[in-house]
Symmetry: C2
Subunit: 411 residues, 2 copies
């Protein structure tokens, strides 16, 4: 199964009769669409010639000022000049990789890691080296060991890529205690940290942890996004970067797209100004917590032979399959049974991960989540029976390649 076949499979998975536990699409029904619609009308009517015109490469200043307020919620103290607006954080990943990576350079990333980042890193011919995480996030000892080994091998490690909060796909959060330790190790080895944080404000319990960037304003590039806390349709993300990197980012972004969309940026700035965006995030947290509960409840009920973590926020559960099952070869059968997921292999650069699946609970309703898990459990059970009987599920397998680029639905 090649990348294009996987894409075809996911295209099928988007049909309404299929419960997709694959995508990372936020649930938007709860947004005050009438209020937003009225604000958009007023924005174009009163500031149309700015909204519709070219803007600056770094991004609109009024939006950058508001982004400063947003990141302050995670303890970041920065200036609007430190912010570069991007076309979603995917563009930030692309620009950072473009600036820093020469073919063969090493990027260290968690095992598992976000599929969209791995795709970008590969496209610039980076060599991705995984470091394990556990229930408290990236393991400092393992990071130190890996960087020591790579240094001994004379490898050039440029970046550490990490999703510290409500990890995609693993669902775990880097503990407050580990954050300064990770930063100290990175600094000691001269490695720049990419802190990719789309989910940080979507925790189910308590206040957000201080961002790594709040502890280190030179060694960290902080990537933020409005895609999960408001809406992905405007494609607005941002980077908080030290001065020298920020200038490079602006030049690279101008080369890539001239400037981010004024229409999108001013729409977001207007939303932040006219709507209770923090109250909205609180509502989203309640909504996603309820769905997380539905997911975990259904897993306990229907799939006790698997194991999983219970995420404290974000969109994803990371499920270890019963022994002997292969998440990739099982996928076509799952889609036939009208449920979709992402095989764990998508989140590793080294071909491992076939014993895991990522199940997302962000988009379907709790009832659909339960139904999806029920169907998924049926597929696992049938697969399990085949393995018990024949030692293998008999599915066509060895030709499976990674889900190298599964498309925007898996964001």
């Amino acid at each position: 199964m090649r990348a294009s076949e996987i894409r075809a499979l996911f295209a099928v998975a988007n049909r309404p009769e299929v419960v997709s536990l694959a995508g990372g699409m936020p649930y938007l029904e709860g947004l005050p669409l009438d209020v937003i619609a009225a604000a958009m009308q007023k924005l174009v009517a009163t500031r149309g010639t700015t909204v519709l015109q070219y803007g600056s490469g770094q991004g609109d200043e009024s939006l950058r000022e508001k982004i400063v307020d947003v990141v302050r919620l995670e303890g970041i103290d920065c200036h609007p000049d430190d912010v570069v607006v991007t076309t979603g954080s995917q563009q930030a990943l692309d620009l950072v990789t473009r600036i820093f990576i020469d073919p063969g350079d090493v990027i260290v990333a968690e095992a598992p890691s976000y599929v969209g980042a791995l795709g970008v890193f590969r496209s610039y011919q980076a060599d991705i080296v995984h470091v394990p995480l556990d229930e408290h996030g990236l393991v400092p000892e393992a990071l130190e060991e890996t960087l020591t080994r790579l240094a001994a091998e004379g490898r050039r490690v440029k970046l550490l890529y990490t999703v510290p909060n409500f990890h995609n796909p693993a669902g775990v959060t880097l503990s407050a205690e580990r954050r300064p330790r990770i930063l100290e190790i990175a600094q000691r080895f001269g490695v720049l940290v990419i802190e990719d944080n789309p989910y940080g404000l979507l925790g189910f319990d308590g206040d957000p942890l201080p961002a790594m960037r709040s502890l280190d304003d030179q060694g960290v590039l902080y990537l933020g996004s409005f895609s999960k806390t408001f809406a992905p349709g405007y494609r607005v993300g941002w980077v908080v970067a030290p001065h020298a990197v920020r200038e490079k980012l602006v030049l690279a972004s101008e080369s890539a797209i001239l400037c981010p969309s004024n229409a999108s940026q001013l729409a977001i700035a207007t939303y932040l100004e006219t709507c209770d965006w923090q109250g909205q995030i609180k509502q989203f947290r309640e909504l996603y917590r309820e769905r997380r509960d539905a997911m975990i409840g259904a897993l306990s009920e229907y799939l006790p032979s698997a194991s999983w973590n219970v995420p404290d926020g974000g969109f994803y559960t990371w499920v270890k399959l019963p022994d002997g099952l292969d998440a990739r070869s099982m996928l076509p059968r799952a889609v036939t049974a009208r449920v979709a997921y992402v095989p764990g292999t998508a989140f590793y650069a080294d071909g491992t991960g076939a014993d895991h699946v990522r199940l997302s609970y962000c988009f379907p309703t709790p009832e659909r989540i339960r139904e999806g898990v029920r169907r998924f459990a049926g597929v696992v059970s049938a697969e399990r029976d085949l393995v018990d009987l024949f030692g293998t599920s008999g599915a066509q397998d060895p030709d499976l390649t990674d889900v190298e680029n599964p498309g925007p639905n898996l964001a």
Copy 2:
């Protein structure tokens, strides 16, 4: 003067007291902003959960259907499947270069050529080789000679980059007679043609010429944009590409930005559906023709010692300075005299072009254009006196570098 200084200079040039003949910003006052505002309100109120959600990597299908109608005006017969929506045509340039160019590969481009394209080509370490154009556009004999020479040298020429209509910066249009000849030569040498056509519908006289893509659906990648015919603030452009290239473009775009903005795409689709967009383009043509006339009239009156072409459409006049003047070293004095332009060197990869300037007439009113040209002529005249007296203008010069990346204002 380094790139950053040039950027600082252009930042000053954006002040209201400066007449900027530098930028490529379209004039948006004429748009029916109230109608667009109402349409945006309705769009978000009725289709909000689609507008605000992730979309497909290739772009929204309803917009791609409308793009098929737009390009039909230039004789292109294609299917919505052939269209890839991009974040402005700048992103199309970036993706095409990313896909096709390895460091050291040759891209052939007109002399002069669009500054934003040269910047992208350089960023991927392409080797840019210029081919002259004349008043009928790119010269076929010169192209053939150049490709023959490069082939003899064993150089790998991948792309021919051309702006056939109302060239940026040269203002000329590739004649209908030359189009098939250029295509035949490119095909014979196995070179893919990038037809960059943001201005094609902005001709002042008669119907648009048939696009090169209308004559060859395999050897041409056609780049289109709504930035000049509607509004750049949404950042929506597109590529019409043969099947195999289109698939690569979609994958590369997903890696770069996941997907183009649904909000922007559906805003454009709504505009095309609800407004008389062809009537609007007709209005723009009248507006820009009047400004072209103001520019040419003012040049004749104030600067008879220079020479220029009279463009039949688009945004730009390409002016040859009187002998002995250097457009780069003159720029700071011009900005002091409250007029800005782009030195010709920005449009060449080889350091030449200091004897030309690009003057744009798209954004300022006719009165401001006249005043800008008057100021410009004053600067030229003072500079001319210095050269006559001392053999040089005495301006600090030799450290000047190209305007490598002048930012979005020079689109």
